[in-house]
């Protein structure tokens, strides 16, 4: 491990960037939603509180935030907040399902500096996408992309969670992004949020992961947000830090101001505090006991004797946690196959940790959720 990565693993005085979920409100009910979004939470940060968070991030020189949700554009003060952040030198990258991007909205977005837009789709066609994101969601996202292109937004991002169903469509997805002059962004499916109940069926097979690794190696221009660093165990590292940044160089602020180690571990065990605490966000980042533990040197656990440990560092903490593995077990999707045995010994599905912050709408049962192993209990 390089000296720089060693430094980053010890944590920085402020995050390099962070994810900020602005609202739990969402008009979609994607089966892999990390935050189990649907209903707005009555105690979400007020516009004033949100602007104070921006002030803090400005003071800490956090250069940009990844805004998500829920659907962040459903927040009435969405544009005010984005414009305020950008004016304070906090760049904004936000993820949207595109439902609110009409032609005039696209014009407004195109007029903002330091703003990146990621439109989410999870398949190269409606049939593949809509199973995950809901009926009509593919057409909606394409319409948003048409409007962004029409408004001259420039290179927006087409953001895709790689699943068993779309892993064979990477070339088509790349072509789709290119047709808009957009950049393709691929991220890893996590067993977090509603993903806890869809991961088993949707996570890519081992063979698909090997193909994905080779595909990504040939295309360093495809963005991944360091998502697939567990695959670096296969040999040449993928571009990026190849390090779990949770609580070290990244974190998550949820809609009610709770701070979690990363966007994939919204569970009480990984809640470090709240921006509403007396010390604010900086107090949580610098004083949280959880974050201190995450920054302490680890032993490597079951992976310590593996020759690839330096390359993947044991993989993704969240993926282990929500599949019932110990945090020093191999990643459930270990590229060298060491996750399989660990999963067989892991606690049964019914006893695995349940994501905490559930805001799912009750009215709709999704076909994938309905056929997956675990029901959404206790919500």
């Amino acid at each position: 491990m390089s000296a720089l990565v060693e430094e980053l693993a010890r944590g920085l005085d402020a995050p390099i960037c962070l994810t900020w979920e602005l609202t739990y409100a969402c008009n979609l009910q994607c089966v892999h939603c990390l935050s189990s979004s649907g209903r707005r939470d009555p105690s979400e940060l007020s516009p004033d509180e949100a602007q104070r968070v921006v002030d803090e991030l400005h003071g800490l020189q956090v250069f940009y935030v990844n805004i998500g949700g829920g659907e962040p554009m459903l927040r009435p003060d969405f544009f005010d907040l984005v414009e305020y952040a950008v004016s304070r030198g906090v760049g904004v990258k936000f993820s949207t399902n595109g439902s609110r991007i009409t032609a005039p909205v696209a014009e407004r977005l195109a007029g903002l500096d330091y703003l990146d837009v990621q439109v989410s789709i999870d398949g190269a066609d409606a049939a593949t996408n809509d199973v995950v994101r809901g009926d009509g969601s593919f057409a909606t996202a394409r319409r948003a992309m048409d409007h962004l292109a029409g408004a001259g937004f420039g290179a927006f991002k087409v953001s895709v969670v790689v699943t068993r169903d779309n892993a064979g469509q990477l070339d088509e997805l790349e072509a789709l992004a290119r047709s808009y002059g957009a950049q393709l962004r691929l991220t890893r499916l996590r067993p977090s949020g509603r993903g806890a109940t869809s991961w088993e069926r949707l996570h890519p097979t081992h063979e698909q992961q090997l193909s994905l690794y080779r595909w990504l190696l040939e295309r360093p221009e495809v963005l991944t947000g360091d998502s697939f660093f567990h695959l670096s165990a296969l040999g040449d590292p993928l571009p990026g830090l190849n390090l779990c940044g949770a609580g070290r160089v990244v974190c998550l602020i949820d809609p009610v101001g709770d701070v979690y180690a990363c966007p994939f571990v919204m569970h009480e065990q990984f809640r470090a505090g709240s921006v509403r605490d007396p010390g604010g966000f900086a107090g949580v980042w610098r004083g949280s006991r959880l974050f201190a533990e995450l920054r302490a040197p680890g032993s490597g656990g079951a992976c310590a004797s593996c020759g690839s440990y330096d390359a993947c560092r044991g993989g993704c903490m969240a993926s282990k946690f929500f599949t019932g593995l110990a945090l020093d077990d191999p990643d459930p999707e270990c590229a060298l196959g060491h996750g399989t045995g660990a999963l067989e010994r892991a606690v049964p599905v019914e006893l695995r940790p349940r994501p905490s912050a559930g805001h799912s709408l009750e009215r709709r049962t999704h076909p994938v959720l309905a056929t997956s192993g675990a029901a959404e209990r206790g919500r």
């Binding site: 000296a3 720089l4 430094e7 005085d13 020189q61 250069f63 030198g89 760049g91 500096d113």
Partner: protein, 97 residues
Amino acid sequence: MSFDPDRPYSLHPQVALRRERFGALAYHYGNRRLTFLKAPTLVALVRSLAEHPSARSAVEIEIPDAARPAHLAALERLAASGMLCERPAGSDPAADR
């Protein structure tokens, strides 16, 4: 435009530096690139560029002999990723445009 150590450079106006134990983080608001400056000496050098008539003279004044090649190479990489820009030379500001 390739890096020419005998020309004057400065930090790109859209780049912000954040001090860190290991050196600094540099973020380019224009091309959204994030770069690590992995030594405090490199950070000081980058900050001083605008006061020197060329990148080479900045290195010769700010950096001890043995470390000069590494620092010059680091400046070249930073220029290639857009973090540094050539600044107009002395009396002829149009020369670099």
